[in-house]
Amino acid sequence: MNRDLRFTALKKTPFHSRTSLASRTNKYYNWNGFTVPTEYSTTELEYTAARNGTSVMDLTPMCKYMINGSDANKFVDYLVTRDLSQMEDNTVAYIIWCNEDGKVMDDGTIFKFSNTKFMLCCAVKIYNWLHDSAEGFDVSFEDATDTTAALAIQGPTSCSTLKNYGADDLELLKPFGMKQYNINGYDVLISRTGFTGDLGYELWTDPANAENMWDSIMEAGKELKIRPFGMHALEMTRIEAGFIQTNTDFMAAEDSLRPVRMRSPYEIGMGWLVHLNKESYFVGKRALKKEKETGNSERCLVGLDIDGDKPAVGSVIYNEKKEDIGIVTAAMWSPTMKRNVALASLKRPYGIKIKENIFAEIYHPEELEYKKIWAKCKVVKRQFFSPERRNKVPADLYE
């Protein structure tokens, strides 16, 4: 029968039996070929859990690549713009990588086990890119996307939840650190990383352990306001945290049809990840060096604090002469900050040298009519939400 079907069904993650049970709304979407919930009950409730308790998200669809070989450390340093030569074992680093024109292809995290073993986590598939880049390096790759189950456990009580689950001394793990555990007979890698800008962890394990892990964590967090959360709630938390998302806040270089849509790291606020003084060459270095020297970056990605309380979703940004100077890529009313915030891609010098007299034209839907709002914006730091507990060691514990 199967071969009569025109399309192959989306894959189910190892957590599907549990996520589908937890889903009241049956709202799913396609993430990298997997079906995962957009929301379980209501986005607001899930968001609140993430900010006040523990939230659980199925991360399995993230692309995960194992990089092995005697040149693995040299290779990752060549692949990404950041200088990783001093990176310590059992740590994680946030990275971006570029093509030859110095345009960003994607961002992600790299996990270092040793000089000969790494794991790369990202949104866009890059198996081919890895192979083509590897010419001249002694490395091999394994696509571990389907063979690793991943769960994000985020929120102020997440450390306590995981300690109840069996992760001893987890509160001592530093941000961007990682530690190997054996819990309930399975290896579980726990890293202090996340996409919510809060205290949080990510767990990586064998798919066979997925259901058991989910159940045990739900049990462990029962008194700590644990709740699964979906993509929509994650979107809210990541905007508050000022994290960027590929193909939302900027177009991945390999995905954009129009060359003018490609962005360099300097144009999406990622200049701090470009280490031009890195001794070895990395992909895009020549182009980025030139861009830095000539200062011909055209755009910038900034945070906006917008007057009023109507989210500026998709708004065009203007200067005082009503000239179009950019666009909002993500926007929300932040319930935690009580601020109307947005990420916006602006044409320089706006956002860099000119931070005043910037306006958003907001079309706010009101029962089949749009209310047009001309709202004043302030250029601010992109990290709207960054609580102290996020980086605290030892991490806060609750009972």
Binding site: N99, D132, S133, E135, G136, S280, Y281, R286
Partner: protein, 503 residues
């Protein structure tokens, strides 16, 4: 760190020598590092047969190049003895072809005129450095505009015809025009010579136009033999080098480029010796230049991809037969034996020879271009270009070499029955041998296919045209650059110009 030299040229092939001398004449202190014991690269008796004439623009920038050429006519051998002899002169050729078919004779003149006007339109473009369109400079656009104008100036009818023919295969065009299969085979042979194409492969027609542009805009004219052979040519270049005080280090193979702040500042030899210079020029093929000299760790992924996809599998082997006497070719007089002799009896024959090469296999009935060398001092030698002798043949060259040579000799036996008894020694140089002995990856004459995606501003790869590489201070001057291989010296001259422009 002091620069010992202004320029180091890697490889003393003819383009490297031309480039070095032009720079030396402009008072640059030049060193050439050559991996082999001898200079001249592929300009060697064991490789070269017939050549085009060095263009005036090249010889004049060298201050004259005293090389004598002998024009060669062409003879397409037929088993029946009904050979076609062409000299590249319209009137004479028309008369010869009339002997076979008066229709073909008229058509040939028309065909030749058409092709000739197209190759002339390409011609000016062939000599100069190609434009770099990504640069957005006026002069680059102007060059492109000029090429467009050259073609457009042919008139609307011819322009349409040019557009029709540019991607066409040579077989279709020949079958549309001619009825004589031997004539079809002969022209198709010249269209695919040195390439990885069969007569029915798309793009084989532009290959012929390309060849014509360096051969006096003629199909069978512009084919020469160097007086005194390849050695005389190389010796002349070496004399000039001597006069211009170009230093040449032979048996000095370069391991890699030394870089500082992402700029080439010198070379390191395999012996460990380091030599520094302001500019480095590679006469090596693009793959060696990028993967060995520049180093894979210094390349962007996109560039690695382009170099990996760069097509440079050689398809021509050279077989040299030393003879104890001159063989009797059926129905050939002394004049015929001095000509360029081609065995490619029909388009289908060539296509059959080509077919196995698609799978890196060998046809035992290849196509041949032969030159009989007679000299008073020594035995006659029959030099044969054998195509399609696949690079990295699946059968394994070590195993099949002898059988292959025998097959070629058997084939020649059909046209010269006594050939077997005349042979004293046989030497074959396969593309694999060219790669090993001449350091040309893929063993390709042109250091890379002459096809539309590897021509003009796309040659050798996008982003590296105009003789510059991705590394500051490292240039290319070999056959892998525009306009490609063949004994023209144009890449060498253009590269020298690029370097002088940048200085």
């Amino acid at each position: 760190m002091s620069d010992n030299y202004d320029v180091i040229v890697i490889g003393a092939g003819h383009n490297g020598l031309v480039c070095a001398n032009i720079l030396a004449k402009k008072n640059r202190k030049v060193l050439i590092c050559e991996a082999r014991e001898n200079c001249g690269g592929l300009v060697e008796e064991s490789i070269t047969n017939f050549v085009p004439q060095i263009p005036l623009s090249v010889s004049s920038s060298l201050g004259g190049l005293p090389v004598k050429y002998k024009a060669k006519s062409t003879i397409a051998l037929s088993e029946s003895g009904q050979h076609i002899r062409l000299v590249g002169n319209q009137h004479i050729d028309h008369k010869v072809i009339s002997g076979f078919s008066s229709k073909d004779a008229d058509r040939y003149v028309e065909f030749h005129d058409k092709m000739s006007s197209f190759s002339k339109a390409l011609g000016s473009f062939m000599m100069a450095s190609p434009p770099r369109v990504m640069n957005n400079t006026f002069s680059d656009y102007f060059k492109l505009f000029k090429l467009g104008m050259n073609v457009r100036m042919l008139g609307k009818k011819k322009f349409n015809e040019f557009a029709r023919m540019i991607g066409l295969n040579i077989a279709d065009e020949l079958e549309d025009n001619f009825e004589n299969t031997l004539l079809q085979g002969l022209i198709a042979h010249d269209a695919v010579l040195g390439s990885n194409l069969g007569p029915r492969s798309p793009g084989s027609l532009i290959n012929l136009l390309y060849r014509m542009a360096t051969h006096d805009n003629s199909i069978f004219g512009g084919i020469y033999e160097i007086d005194g052979g390849s050695k005389a040519f190389v010796d002349t270049l070496l004399d000039i080098s001597n006069k211009n005080k170009v230093e040449i280090k032979t048996s000095s193979s370069v391991k890699r480029c030394i870089t500082e702040n992402d700029k080439a500042i010198g070379v390191e030899l395999h012996s460990g010796e380091k030599i520094y210079a302001k500019k480095i020029i590679s006469n090596a093929d693009p793959r060696s230049t990028y993967f060995c000299l520049l180093g894979t760790e210094n390349l962007d992924t996109d560039v690695k991809r382009r170099i990996k996809h760069h097509r440079s599998k050689g398809k021509v082997a050279k077989l040299s037969l030393s003879l104890n006497k001159q063989p009797e070719f059926i129905n050939c007089d002394k004049n015929d034996l001095e000509s360029r002799m081609v065995i490619a009896p029909s388009i289908d024959y060539i296509e059959e020879a080509f077919n196995p090469s698609k799978f890196d296999k060998l046809s035992m009935e290849p196509i041949l271009e032969m030159k009989l060398k007679n000299s008073d001092q020594s035995n006659p030698v029959l030099d044969i270009q054998v195509q399609y002798a696949s690079y990295g043949a699946q059968e394994g060259w070590d195993k099949i070499k002898d059988n292959y040579v025998d097959a070629v000799i058997k084939l020649i036996g059909k046209y010269a029955p006594d050939i077997q008894s005349c042979i004293e020694t046989k030497t074959i140089v396969t593309p694999d041998d060219i790669e090993k002995n001449f350091y040309v990856s893929g063993g390709h004459w042109h250091h890379g296919e002459i096809q539309i995606d590897q021509l003009f501003m796309l040659r050798p790869i996008p982003g590296a045209s105009q003789y510059r590489t991705h590394l500051d201070g490292l240039y290319m001057c070999g056959a892998g650059t525009h306009p490609g291989g063949g004994l023209t010296g144009i890449p060498g001259k253009n590269a020298a110009q690029a370097i002088l422009e940048d200085a």
